[in-house]
């Protein structure tokens, strides 16, 4: 369960996030949709605690991301934008390292790593060093790394970036599987179709503000557009730059 309440964040004069609020409940997929530079990544970075909000609060399973950040991090699995791997370690070692840092004990690590490797279909290259991996392979390993400790809340920043059709499809299956297991999944994207196909709730962000937070059908009816792309464009224009 992720809760964001009137969060603000500025970098110098740039006001990246201006009072964003939304909830991402357990057992649902919540999509954070917005054009480039809308403040999606900044919001997610605040959620996985690498940035502190200037104003407002956010919590992961009731743990505040500022005052109780260690506890908040315990229940999230995050895939930051452009995640990198350790090129001298194998895919399996990359995943195992994160498992160890998440506090899993030795016996548990091997099982969990094997399980996630199977789930994400990375067996073929699991024991190769990650140097020279394709974007799809890297994303899969990064995902495995984020999910190895069975986090209740999963935060993915543009996970489908650079993935081919097959990889995108298996990513979609994985996200659905996580939802069906009762997890809270929050992911960002700038592709309307992708979000519409997957999400139970969509939060459209533009200029650092929430334009619409509703289900797919809700967005259609509120914007009066049947075509999702038109709905998206119309929603974005609901909020101005200032």
């Amino acid at each position: 369960m992720i809760r964001v309440d009137r969060v603000h964040k500025s970098f110098g004069k740039v006001r990246a996030v201006r009072g964003v609020s939304f909830d991402a409940p357990d057992g649902k997929i919540t999509g954070l949709l917005g054009p480039n530079g809308a403040g999606k990544s900044t919001t997610l970075r605040i959620l996985y605690t690498v940035l502190k909000p200037d104003e407002g609060t956010a919590s992961i399973d009731e743990a505040d991301v500022v005052s109780d950040s260690l506890k908040a991090r315990q229940s999230i699995g995050a895939l930051p934008h452009g995640s990198g791997l350790y090129p001298h370690l194998t895919a399996r070692e990359n995943v195992a390292y994160f498992a160890r840092l998440c506090g899993l004990d030795k016996a548990e690590i091997d099982d969990k790593v094997a399980e996630i490797v199977r789930l994400l279909e990375i067996d073929d290259f699991a024991d190769r060093r990650t140097k020279g991996f394709s974007q799809g392979q890297r994303t899969k390993v990064s995902l495995a790394r984020a999910l190895v400790h069975d986090p209740q809340n999963v935060i993915l920043d543009e996970p489908s970036n650079g993935l081919d059709v097959m990889a995108t499809r298996s990513l979609r299956d994985l996200i659905l599987k996580l939802r069906d297991a009762g997890r809270c999944v929050l992911f960002s994207s700038h592709v309307m179709q992708e979000v519409a196909a997957l999400c139970d709730d969509i939060c459209i962000i533009a200029h650092g503000q929430v334009a619409i937070d509703d289900s797919v059908d809700g967005i259609r009816s509120r914007t009066g557009c049947d075509d999702l792309e038109d709905a998206f464009v119309k929603a974005i224009h609901m909020v101005g730059p200032d």
């Binding site: 605690t49 315990q74 350790y86 370690l89 994160f98 160890r100 840092l101």
Partner: protein, 392 residues
């Protein structure tokens, strides 16, 4: 603690697989020092042997005017050869560097000697040319000796004891020991040890900060339920281990290299046995933490791997500055110097190599002050690692 250890081991495995890190830790640092050192030592041995044993050629104009003097010079291993045509040509030749020195014996030399008036000889040399100056000094020494001998003969002929011309009997008592003489040259060893230690950890310091950020692996790492203090401590720990490895190898390679250097020919017997090697390792060990924290600190300010490399090469030079200044001013170990890291290690190592008693208080201050600086820098690193701007 478990987390720190996990980070520590991951960094070690990761970097053991990195050829660049290994090359700088295991080859560059430990081998570069002894090689350069062997080169310098051999060069100075060659030069000093040259002075004593090599036959020196001395171009002379008018050698026929002083046959006795010529025989005397030959007896001192100075080979007399024909010089340029005349005095003007001699000056030209020396100016142009064709000859280092030229001795001119004027035609009146023999008569002046017979008349017991000071007989004139000219020695043409370029005193700005240090190599020529050595030759000139050797020729001048030979001429003075001949002068003394003739004077003694003349006094004896007049029934006077030649010792009246030596009111003073100057005896140089050199208290330097062979170990002491070696300290001058071996003083530069301490820099190589510091250099080797820093080289050993340099790539780790970059990799764990700027490298991790550039690769994009820092952000996922910071999302994990660990504190940033745990991460930075594990990383600095791994850097320290590589530095310790590089330092130990460097000490060992010096220990081996010194066995094969003909230092006795320079009148040096450095006190650098296994005991001193071990003591040096312990003495320099506190510097490892300081160096690791310093390099991590500098690298964490930089935006990219390349920028970090540039700045860290400046860090490699910084510890030489105090050593250089003290070496130029030839300062002796003093209590207040012991508070300065790198300098204190250098001075104490010089004392050990000289086989002189080492002041225990000095050692204590050196160790404590270096450790304190190291702990302080580590603390600053941890503070900086907590800031938001870390991700750049």
């Amino acid at each position: 603690m478990r987390t720190i250890i996990a980070v520590f081991f991951k960094e070690i495995i990761d970097n053991l697989r990195d050829r660049r890190t290994l090359a700088s830790a295991l080859i560059m640092g430990p081998i570069f020092g002894p090689l350069l050192f062997a080169f310098v030592i051999n060069l100075s041995i060659e030069r000093s042997l040259e002075d004593v044993e090599r036959t020196m050629e001395l171009p002379v104009i008018g050698r026929e005017h002083a046959p006795n003097l010529m025989r005397y010079l030959e007896s001192r291993n100075i080979e007399v050869i024909d010089g340029p045509a005349d005095a003007a040509a001699a000056i030209e030749a020396v100016k142009a560097g064709a000859n280092d020195i030229v001795l001119i014996v004027p035609p009146g030399f023999g008569e002046q000697l017979e008349d017991t008036v000071p007989a004139k000889v000219e020695l043409v040399s370029d005193q700005a040319n240090t190599d020529a100056d050595r030759e000139a000094r050797r020729a001048r020494r030979a001429l003075y000796a001949y002068n003394q001998e003739l004077a003694a003969v003349r006094l004896s002929a007049r029934g006077i004891n030649p010792t009246v011309l030596r009111p003073l009997n100057i005896d140089d008592v050199d208290v330097s020991t062979p170990s002491g003489r070696s300290a001058i040259l071996l003083g530069m060893m301490s820099y190589f040890f510091i250099f080797a230690a820093l080289m050993g950890g340099m790539y780790l310091a970059i990799d764990t900060t700027a490298g991790e950020r550039e690769r994009g692996s820092l952000e996922p790492l910071l999302c994990l339920p660990v504190t940033r203090d745990q991460l930075i401590l594990g990383k600095i720990g791994a850097t320290c281990l590589f530095m310790a490895l590089s330092l130990s190898l460097s000490l060992f390679s010096f220990f081996v290299a010194l066995r094969f250097m003909p230092l006795e020919q320079l009148g040096m017997t450095p006190n650098f046995g296994p005991g001193v090697v071990l003591a040096a390792l312990l003495l320099f060990a506190p510097f490892i933490l300081l160096g690791a924290a310093l390099m991590t600190l500098v690298a964490s300010f930089t935006k990219s791997y390349r920028e970090a490399q540039t700045w860290l090469s400046v860090v490699l030079i910084a510890p030489t500055m105090p050593i250089l200044i003290v070496s130029i001013l030839t300062l002796r170990p003093r209590l207040e110097f012991m508070f300065i890291p790198s300098l204190s290690q250098h001075l104490l190592l010089v004392d050990m190599v000289k086989n002189e008693p080492v002041n225990n208080l000095h050692v204590l201050i050196s160790v404590c002050s270096t450790l304190a600086f190291g702990a302080m820098l580590t603390w600053i690193c941890a503070r900086l690692y907590r800031r938001e701007g870390l991700l750049g």
